[in-house]
């Protein structure tokens, strides 16, 4: 797997490729919704370039359409995106980052990149940036395409393409579960997230579950040391 097939950047870029199938249609649809909501071409693209957070952009477009106050949109964005604190805490200990590399890595950080990088043994900064820019480029090209296309495309949820995302995270989760404590955390987290999502949707279930599940794991493994993911157990991102 670590046989050098191109640079770390290229390997990171390609590692995200299986997710393009899910990212492209949703980028297109985001742009269509944003244009319907009355945002200009430049504004639609600006959210993808500057904020670069799918769920927050979807809800912002919807809120702009209803004439919501800016404060409400910013607060919703915060609730949806505060989960990235957990991703940063986890990644910051595994990828060596200094100087400009830290804000650069932070700017492009997403669920999908965290998933692919966290499931990989000893990821480098180059691999991380390759994965991050792979998603950024795809999302922004899809936004641009959607903003030009207008409302002539079918809803990807009608095709079931939204299923790509839970399948991807399940496929990333499976190889990480090796001990009883890890299995317990995965099962309990799945149930807790489902239950919380019945009450409040968006980013809150991820934050609540991320904290509760990790506390459970730390408590279950008290008195033991847990290591890095083992080399042979990491998921292979590409064939």
């Amino acid at each position: 797997m670590d046989s050098p097939r191109g640079s770390a950047f290229v390997r990171g870029f390609v590692a995200i490729a299986p997710l393009w199938l899910g990212v492209v249609p949703f980028g297109v649809v985001y742009a269509v919704i944003a244009r319907d909501a009355g945002l200009s071409l430049v504004e639609t693209q600006a959210l993808s370039l500057l904020v670069f957070a799918g769920s927050a952009q979807f809800s912002a477009a919807g809120l702009f359409a209803t004439g919501a106050a800016g404060v409400e949109i910013v607060l919703t964005t915060f609730l949806l995106n505060v989960r990235h604190v957990l991703y940063g805490l986890s990644l910051g200990r595994r990828v060596p980052l200094d100087g400009w590399r830290r804000p650069a890595a932070a700017y492009f950080l997403t669920d999908e990149v965290f998933g692919v990088v966290a499931a990989r043994p000893a990821p480098s900064f180059g691999f991380l940036m390759g994965a991050e820019l792979s998603l950024f480029a795809t999302w922004n090209l899809a936004t641009f395409g959607g903003a030009l296309l207008g409302a002539t495309i079918p809803n990807p949820a009608d095709l079931g393409l939204d299923l790509v995302f839970p399948l991807a995270f399940l496929a990333l989760l499976v190889p990480l579960v090796r001990t009883r404590a890890e299995l317990a955390v995965a099962l309990v987290s799945g149930v807790v997230a489902y239950a919380v999502a019945q009450v409040v949707s968006g980013g809150v279930p991820i934050v609540v579950t991320g904290i509760a599940g990790s506390l459970l794991g730390a408590w279950l493994t008290r008195g033991r040391a847990v290591g890095e993911p083992r080399f042979e157990d990491a998921v292979r991102e590409v064939a």
């Binding site: 500057l50 940063g88 079931g160 991102e237």
Partner: protein, 97 residues
Amino acid sequence: MTFWLTTAGMVAVTFGSRYAGLALRSELPAFWVRFLHFVPIAVFAALVTPSLEGAMGEGEIRLVGAVVAGLAAWRTRNLGVSIAAGMLAFWLLRIPF
């Protein structure tokens, strides 16, 4: 103008969240090191279950797709193959007979 002010706010809270975790680099007590080990496991599970059933009453066949993808991930440890297997199972079951 409101748009750009709102966007600036969105950028601030989004980048702030993304940067805050990465910026914390001090040595952590053993409990929190173990806590962080479980973050990907808990978060990935939380990204699966709430969006599994979907909004179109296809919960059962989506669940079958997830089981197929999970088995494929267990056997192959390959992300692309797992997604393809799960989506294929889902789309095949979706064909009205």
